[in-house]
């Protein structure tokens, strides 16, 4: 059964447009121009227990708003959400006992005091027994190397260190669902890897359901089997990563370099319109094609046999490119 059920959820905000300039400022004192913004518009999806789902979208697409509704902070303007058997905003008190949350942009720990004090406070808030507490800390320490950080005030930690502590804090009370809002934002490669390893292990070993938003698509590629794409409040895609590739990866490209500069007659290769050739400069040429129609091996063979080439490189569309494409189009084109 689905652990999280989101059906037809919308969130509308009212904002006020401000007029510019001094006279505009004075006008603003007396009259405001309300404008309705739909941050999330008619979004539905479900998440099963134990899943790790990636939720992606450009800045302002509605990711964080969705997460905030899922965690019970914001009340949906319409539609309904059920998670772990509760309506998040209504049953906030009971519901939040079973979830963990990390907002990558700000810490959940107490800024001025040692990390361990924050953990102690969380232990008391969630009623974690001494034994479980020690045990959890051991598990986290093994992956996140927490012990050296425990007695430092949060404000003196580096971003990577802080995020390790924040993650540990979110999992401390063994939540069933964890929401991670951009957990790897601003981190270096090593720190990112560290955190991904941790999430993988926790998800596998403790069966925690994880919903994470990110800008870094390599997070998704490494962690999630399933991905949701949201843009301008609309859910554009819901499915597996392979599905996303299959659906959008129409174009691959081969770049090849000639032995000697010269003009190439592409007609000789005999692919007609199925491959789009282009001479980039005197030496380099490009062939763009659809993998479903043309086998790349065939194309490479033909190029190598008919032309004097020095080098051939094959580029597959990355998830990143697919997503960039989706963002710029703002819609899913059925394939």
């Amino acid at each position: 059964m689905a652990l999280i059920e989101v059906s037809k959820v919308s969130k509308r905000f009212k904002t006020y447009d401000r007029k510019e300039g001094v006279w505009g400022g004075i006008q603003n004192l007396f009259r405001r121009n309300p404008r309705e913004v739909r941050a999330v518009d008619d979004v539905s999806f479900t998440v099963d227990a134990g899943e790790m789902v990636g939720y992606i979208g450009a800045n302002g697409a509605g990711k964080s708003t969705t997460i905030k509704m899922l965690t019970g902070i914001l009340v949906p303007s319409s539609g309904s959400i059920r998670a772990n058997g509760y309506v998040p905003y209504r049953d906030r008190h009971q519901y939040t006992r079973g979830i963990g949350v990390v907002f990558g942009q700000r810490t959940q720990l107490w800024w001025d005091i040692a990390v361990v004090e924050s953990f102690q406070l969380l232990k008391r808030i969630y009623d974690v027994s001494d034994r479980d507490f020690e045990e959890q800390l051991e598990i986290f320490d093994a992956v996140l190397n927490l012990k050296p950080l425990l007695y430092t005030p949060v404000r003196k930690l580096s971003l990577g260190e802080r995020m390790r502590c924040d993650l540990a804090a979110a999992f401390l009370h063994r939540p069933r669902i964890v929401f991670l809002d951009e957990p790897t934002i601003g981190l270096d490669v090593v720190a990112k890897e560290n955190i991904r390893q941790f999430l993988k292990r926790i998800n596998a070993e403790l069966q925690v359901t994880v919903v994470l938003t990110t800008h870094d698509l390599s997070d998704i590629e490494e962690l999630c089997r399933r991905v949701l794409i949201i843009d301008r409040g609309h859910l554009l895609f819901d499915g597996s990563l392979e599905g996303l590739r299959e659906r959008f990866e129409c174009k691959s490209q081969i770049v090849f370099e000639l032995r000697e500069p010269g003009q190439v007659d592409f007609g000789r290769l005999g692919f007609n319109s199925s491959v789009e050739f282009q001479q980039l400069d005197a030496l380099r040429c490009q062939a763009v094609f659809d993998k479903k129609q043309v086998a790349s091996a065939e194309l490479i063979k033909s190029i190598v046999n008919s032309l004097a080439v020095r080098d051939v490189t094959l580029d597959d569309t990355t998830i990143e490119e697919i997503v960039r494409e989706i963002y710029s189009r703002g819609e899913v084109v059925p394939s």
């Binding site: 964080s64 902070i73 008190h93 979830i99 907002f103 700000r106 005091i113 808030i125």
Partner: protein
């Protein structure tokens, strides 16, 4: 309600104050300066007079000094903290904890007050005692009643601040409101001038408002001017207003929480 987490919040607040030493030392000096200023103002006002209203000069100095001394105990910044939570978006993380936001804030304020009682109130009292001639509580009985009244002054102050802070959900920037409340409380609580010095109409109204419970009531009890029936009335008033203001805060926050928008990110 399980109280353990709230005790933990109080403890954290205690630790937080300890993190900043300078703020602690400057705090004591500030209160010394405050009392000194009022000492000289009243000295000027009493020149050539035995007493003003029901207060002798010595009583007035005691009133003002003890007023500032207990202010080190009951004072808190709940309103400012809520405004910050909302303005900077920290509210998001706090809402994802299974705790009551109002009691979390009050518990943190209590932790701070407990800290201040030992590290602030007592040293400030000693420092002021060395310089200015203060009277002792009127009787051991008044002293006890005074300590009990301080609980109400803390609760009323905290509950009021929570109400003001919650307005930030609707107004976003409430610095002006906070300032206005600050001055209103300083006057109406009787911190600056005893309420009995107010014009009759205002004094009569103030007698039923919650503000006097913060400063005037405990001070009058300390000086033995509230006794017997008047003492009972002020305790009932304290209890009543505490319940009303906390209840109002609870209701207001529940309403406001559904209107919450989170700034940034």
């Amino acid at each position: 309600m399980n109280v353990t987490p709230y005790i933990a919040f109080a403890r954290i607040a205690f630790l937080k104050i300890l993190a900043y030493r300078l703020r602690y030392y400057t705090g004591i000096v500030t209160y010394m300066v405050n009392v000194s200023v009022y000492y000289f103002i009243w000295k000027a006002l009493y020149r050539g007079k035995e007493s003003l209203g029901e207060f002798t000069f010595e009583e007035m100095i005691t009133y003002v000094s003890v007023g500032f001394i207990i202010r080190t105990f009951y004072f808190n910044n709940i309103d400012r903290e809520i405004a910050n939570d909302i303005l900077l978006g920290h509210i998001a993380a706090k809402m994802t904890r299974p705790v009551n936001y109002q009691w979390m804030n009050i518990a943190q304020a209590a932790g701070e007050s407990f800290f201040r009682l030992f590290m602030f109130t007592v040293p400030t009292a000693l420092a002021i005692l060395v310089v200015f001639p203060l009277r002792a509580p009127a009787s051991p009985y008044s002293a006890l009643a005074f300590l009990a009244a301080l609980l109400f002054s803390f609760m009323v102050f905290a509950a009021l601040n929570f109400l003001v802070g919650t307005c930030a959900v609707y107004l976003h920037s409430i610095l002006g409101l906070i300032r206005a409340k600050y001055f209103l409380v300083e006057i109406l609580s009787g911190l600056l001038i005893p309420i009995s010095f107010f014009p009759d109409a205002l004094a009569e109204i103030s007698r039923w408002l919650p503000f006097q419970l913060i400063s005037f009531t405990p001070l009058m009890i300390y000086m033995g001017k509230f006794q017997g029936e008047q003492l009972v009335t002020s305790f009932l008033l304290g209890l009543g207003w505490t319940l009303v203001l906390v209840g109002l805060g609870h209701w207001f926050w529940r309403k406001a929480a559904t209107k919450l928008t989170v700034q940034g990110g």
